[in-house]
Symmetry: C2
């Protein structure tokens, strides 16, 4: 017996911004679950900016996507058939075999999710983006009440959680975003203290200095480029920078320009620390406990941008680099 | 009564590399020591690359030099007259009123030095350069036996101590320098494991990759620019970068170029930490105890480049940016 599935494959590796032509929607047949495996019907899948790096053929912290195979990434689904005693048919699980409608996965790679919480939250606020925000603020930046934080791409999946956890922790939050709608959402619904719309700002360094006249204690970088330069210029002595993403450079086919004022890291004794969330999975239980409560109590808003259908997943992904999402970009299957 | 002294003043602020015309040798009369003060005859004074930053009129971790006043910096001297019970005539002291032949200083700013050690060592291996190396390796980088470290400007006052402490700690040391003589000294006398002469290297990144095929665990940056890029490219996962100096940019009157591959800090989870030694004076007792022993036992070599005479101090300083020194650049008064 075999199972017919639909999968998104990477057809060829993009240079610069991907287009729909870089993807294929493929019908495939896969083998039924062996002992220790599950058949899962995916209900939601995640598209994330980091996936752009996996489209290039080079060594990194995570293997590149392979051409002519199903792409992968975080997804949630329902167990349709279980060949493992730890799971039952109907269980909702989070796992890593996204970019397809059905998947056969090793039970060890699946985790059951709390049915009292929205399943798709496990791809956003309760998933790796939320964990990234939590780890960056706590373990990396050691954020403290009363400090000022600057977060870039603050309406994105990670940034919007950074902003919310920081507000819960009593920090002053300065957010940068790329549209007036996103700015309004952050200001009016999330309650951040200042918002910079970088698309309408000629001098980001001056704008940040105006928003943080006393300087910033923490910079949570999701953008890189001019945002990182502005943050170096605005940093207080002993500031902590969480280097989490640099989306401004992900689709550049020219050499990026580095922060010209990196010398300020010496003068101000700044600590810049790269963050990859998979180093910190030991914090998942603590994180899920806290975030679960925050969501149930309405203290963290689950803002999502939803695209329907596996065939639209490439567009959803491409949209990440065009500012198409407010909050977590999700594909509903 | 007053005392006639000779002082070096900053005449005007340089743009780019300073020249002798930016300095004045001035005869001055100063007041005799008040209670709690000392008259010190300086015997050695320090010139250091960081002083270049103090020639610019801008806010930083240390105040700019003021025009028309004696410059200052680390010096050692002998107490000629004491108005403080803690010091006696003839005491050798280290203090911060360099760039002059005699100084009246507050006794609280002076420290008596160990007469069994060369006085000028308190400006180099036993002074702030040595402490910088020690702090960077221990408190900042947490260097461990068996790791590989890359140190730039490795024949300089800080770099040469970094290389030696690292060798004592059982690290593999890759050094970069700007001349064949310096390379030979490091290889043959200090025993570093590999030396790159960057002036004879077309592709520093390739040269470092060849010297460290397994990658580097620590980068001790005294240079910035292409050295920092090469180190990012060569870094192992979780590498630690001590950002201590960026001499390649100190005399640039154009905007510096930043490290174009800063994204590797995310991919490799690198920690970059700016270091200013004055944050770490709590480590002076521990450091002086250890370094004193290392020097007495011949485990750390006191390599010095000596320029004679206060009137030659500006040339000694300018020489720092031309690679004129091997080891600590000193002015003997």
């Amino acid at each position: 017996m075999s199972i017919e599935v639909r999968e998104i494959h990477l057809r060829r590796r993009p240079i610069g911004l991907p287009t729909p032509e870089h993807f294929d929607l493929v019908s495939n047949r896969i083998r039924e679950p062996e002992p220790g495996q599950l058949l899962v019907r995916n209900t939601w899948m995640s598209v994330d900016p980091y996936m752009r790096g996996r489209m290039d053929e080079r060594k990194s912290y995570i293997a590149p996507f392979r051409l002519g195979e199903a792409m992968d990434g975080a997804a949630v689904g329902v167990v349709e058939f279980s060949n493992d005693p730890a799971f039952s048919v109907g269980d909702a699980v989070v796992h890593f075999a996204g970019w397809r409608d059905f998947a056969v996965i090793d039970a060890a790679t699946a985790r059951r999710i709390d049915p009292e919480l929205p399943a798709q939250a496990y791809l956003g606020a309760l998933g790796f983006p939320g964990l990234t925000a939590y780890v960056g603020l706590t373990r990396i930046a050691n954020a403290r009440q009363g400090e000022t934080i600057f977060v870039s791409a603050a309406s994105g999946a990670v940034g919007s959680i950074v902003a919310q956890i920081a507000k819960l922790g009593g920090l002053r939050v300065i957010a940068s975003v790329g549209s007036a709608d996103k700015a309004a959402w952050l200001r009016n619904e999330i309650g951040v203290d200042a918002v910079i719309n970088y698309r309408e700002t000629a001098d980001l360094t001056a704008a940040l200095a105006a928003a943080a006249p006393e300087g910033i204690h923490i910079y949570f970088d999701n953008v890189g480029g001019d945002h990182l330069e502005a943050a170096l210029a605005a940093a207080q002595t002993h500031a902590r920078f969480v280097l989490c993403g640099m989306i401004s450079g992900y689709n550049s086919d020219a050499p990026a320009s580095g922060p010209r004022n990196i010398f300020q890291a010496i003068e101000k004794r700044i600590r810049l620390q790269g963050l990859i969330v998979s180093d910190h999975i030991d914090l998942i239980p603590e994180f899920e406990r806290k975030m679960g409560v925050w969501i149930k109590e309405g203290k963290v808003a689950l803002r999502e941008t939803v695209v329907d259908g596996l065939d639209n997943a490439p567009d959803a992904f491409i949209g990440l680099f065009k500012g198409a999402n407010t909050g977590k970009m999700l594909v509903r299957l």
